[in-house]
């Protein structure tokens, strides 16, 4: 029986999972869409992972969760470690690329930059309140152009004169894009222009004031877009490395963090058959009216969060009693 570690990364767009041995070998991995249902996605993900390790002598002794649904999913799978995605990405990447100095990451909803020195993160930044320079920008524009987002990169490579698009703001970019189409720019040039716009926005927002040193590793869903990779290389003037497992790096980092932690708890795939329900309640203890999320497993409340003071715990307990009476 070999001890292994599982990492799950549930983002706004995609859900990723890996099972990792203690010498960093990936024995199972999966990448699926979250589709607004993190619990359903995780159940499906676990099913895919289970298939890949069935019949093998593995025992999952630690589980880490990360991504924006990390707390919810951590509760559902009984995680031993729940970590933010910035730390998970930094840990995952520095394990596989110990000499990395800059990590560029563009996901569906957020983008970040992590600067590394001697194998540890020394500075990071993350986008705020704005979709410019994220995958959401590319996917909304690909919809408008009627091109699958996965094909944008290849199309962009065919362009020799990328169109300049006023892309500081996603909303205004759309009107400029329409204008450029109407005056006769080719599709290739426009797609290449969009890829450059993402890079320009990224470097002007999260990358502002950061010293980007080589080696540079680029990851997150958008790193699969070769047009964006080439645009980064052109603007930074250095090679940009995309790891074949770059899209899994958050999950890998979570698995490594679970391994580093002293906490051990054997994971069982049984939870695929359990029913999990979340309910949002408003505390009502004071005018702050905190939104509290309660998670139930087969009718029993297993966790709640969101309250800023102890009054919320009482409100959650009351909600749990009401929930069990109703069901």
């Amino acid at each position: 029986m070999e001890d292994v570690y599982m990492g799950i990364d549930v983002g706004s767009i995609s859900t990723k999972g890996v099972i990792l041995t203690k010498d960093n070998r990936i024995v199972a991995s999966a990448y699926i869409w979250t589709e607004g249902n993190p619990i359903g996605a995780v159940k499906q993900l676990l099913h895919l992972l289970e298939e890949q390790v069935s019949g093998e002598e593995y025992r999952i002794v630690g589980t880490g969760t990360t991504g924006s649904a990390r707390q919810l999913v951590g509760t559902v799978v009984g995680a031993t470690v729940v970590k933010n995605e910035i730390t998970a990405h930094a840990v995952g990447t520095t394990t596989f690329h110990p000499d990395v100095r800059t990590i560029l990451e563009i996901g569906g909803q957020d983008s970040k930059i992590i600067l590394v020195e001697n194998g540890v993160a020394i500075d990071y930044a993350m986008n705020t309140l704005c979709a410019a320079g994220t995958g959401a920008f590319l996917s909304s524009q690909s919809n408008r152009l009627g091109i699958p987002v996965e094909e944008m990169g290849e199309i962009a490579l065919k362009s020799s004169h990328p169109t300049q698009i006023a892309a500081r703001c996603t909303v205004f970019a759309e009107s400029d894009l329409v204008h450029k189409i109407q005056v006769g720019h080719t599709r290739e040039d426009i797609v290449a222009g969009l890829c450059q716009a993402v890079v320009g926005n990224y470097l002007n927002n999260v990358g502002k004031g950061k010293k980007i040193l080589s080696p540079v590793v680029f990851q997150g869903g958008v790193s699969k877009n070769i047009g964006v990779v080439k645009a980064f290389e052109r603007q930074l003037g250095c090679p940009v490395l995309v790891d074949e497992n770059g899209h899994l790096m958050g999950a890998i980092g979570a698995a490594i963090l679970a391994r580093r932690s002293k906490k051990r708890k054997e994971f069982s795939f049984d939870i695929e058959d359990m029913e999990f329900i979340t309910r949002e309640i408003n505390c009502g203890g004071c005018p702050n009216n905190c939104e509290i999320i309660c998670v139930y497993r087969d009718g029993q409340m297993i966790d709640s969060w969101g309250n800023r003071c102890q009054r919320g715990d009482a409100a959650a307990k009351k909600a749990a009693r009401r929930f069990s009476e109703e069901n």
């Binding site: 924006s68 970590k83 933010n84 995605e85 910035i86 730390t87 930094a90 001697n118 194998g119 540890v120 993160a121 020394i122 500075d123 990071y124 930044a125 993350m126 705020t128 309140l129 004031g209 010293k211 004071c286 005018p287 702050n288 009216n289 800023r308």
Partner: protein, 359 residues
């Protein structure tokens, strides 16, 4: 302002300082003080509803807490001023409140900024024409003493509460202290409450280890001091196991300020001119923390705070020169807390892992 004998005076909510104003109004002006409820989402929503959208968040919370004070029965409001847009906020808040139909007397201290004590006395006499200079002076001195005590206790609290062996002991002592301040009637009450809290603090066992993580928190005057506005930033950090240091408070910035010129001399390599109401102090403090070997800095501002936006490039240079990580947080009235939690946790992980490599 009309002649009125018995006033019910209120002051917008500012961090933990309302007890100081209460003390001065009751003991010096001999008037009733109205304490509005602590700030909540409701306060901010009131401000958002009636304030211009692009104004900074502190104006919205101040306006909201003024409305809550008027609803709680206040008939006289006092408003402070400052050297940024805060200087205009008194006038703007009054106009908005009067447009909403509230009736109240208003003392906007921005109209008395000569710096001469004679003029301040004139302002205070408006609140009570019979107020005598001697009790006013006595209450003023005691009030300032309370203010310094609150700042001292608060800063000790955030430096230590993350390391207590039994969770909650520091909070209990701190709450008791604030309760004592809210009941203080004379100078000795303040001293007794303070001494008791200091003694309790000293007796609480803590385990800091040889190299506790130290983070300096700096930034915009209001948001950095007010825990409602910065969504419990200092408590969040302390709970992760960090010694939280903050220079910016009313004692340091207003009572014992070394002076613009003196501070500027200490940061000559970074800036030549005065940049704003708290900019020089924040740049100096960032450099000071870096020189003391702190593990990180967190810069706090509300969205649209121009003076604090201006100092970011200087802070970036300090970060590079001293190799100290800096996290920049911008608070907007529309924010949820999840994004801040993620960023603060990631920042903590980063400085903690970095420290392990260094030591």
């Amino acid at each position: 302002m009309g002649e009125k004998k018995n006033r019910k005076i209120a002051f917008p909510m500012v961090a933990r300082y309302n007890e100081v104003v209460r003390y001065f109004v009751e003991q010096g002006l001999k008037q009733t003080y109205i304490m509005q409820p602590p700030m909540t989402r409701h306060t901010l929503n009131l401000g958002v509803k009636y304030a211009p959208d692009m104004v900074c968040t502190p104006f919205k919370t101040i306006l909201g807490s003024m409305i809550e004070a008027l609803e709680a029965g206040a008939d006289t409001l006092i408003m402070v001023f400052g050297y940024c847009r805060l200087g205009y906020y008194g006038e703007l808040a009054e106009t908005i409140l009067r447009d909403l139909g509230y009736e109240f007397d208003y003392l906007n201290l921005a109209e008395y900024t000569t710096g001469k004590s004679k003029d301040y006395l004139k302002a205070l006499r408006k609140l009570n024409p019979d107020a005598k200079a001697v009790p006013l002076g006595k209450a003023g001195i005691d009030g300032l003493k309370m203010l310094e005590r609150i700042d001292t206790i608060e800063s000790l609290y955030y430096q230590n509460c993350g390391f207590e062996i039994t969770k909650g002991q520091y909070r209990k002592a701190f709450d008791r202290f604030m309760d004592d301040m809210s009941k203080a009637q004379k100078g000795s009450d303040i001293d007794e409450g303070y001494d008791r809290c200091r003694e309790t603090f000293d007796s609480i066992p803590v385990d800091k280890g040889p190299f506790p993580l130290k983070v300096g928190v700096l930034g915009e005057y209001f948001t950095v001091m007010d825990e409602f506005s910065n969504i419990d930033l200092e408590q969040t950090l302390a709970d992760l196991g960090v010694e939280v240091h903050r220079w910016m408070n009313v004692s340091n910035r207003n009572l014992h300020y070394p002076g613009e010129k003196n501070l500027n001399a200490r940061i000559r390599e970074y800036c030549t001119y005065e940049m704003g109401p708290t900019s020089t102090a924040n740049i100096w403090y960032a450099k000071d923390c870096a020189e003391r070997g702190y593990d990180g800095l967190i810069h706090v501002k509300s969205a649209g705070c121009t003076p604090e936006i201006d100092i970011i490039p200087v802070l970036q240079r300090i970060g590079e020169d001293y190799k100290i990580p800096i996290l920049y947080l911008t608070y907007d009235s529309q924010d949820g807390s999840a994004g801040f939690q993620t960023r603060i946790e990631a920042f903590y992980d980063m400085i903690e892992m970095r420290k392990k490599v260094i030591h």
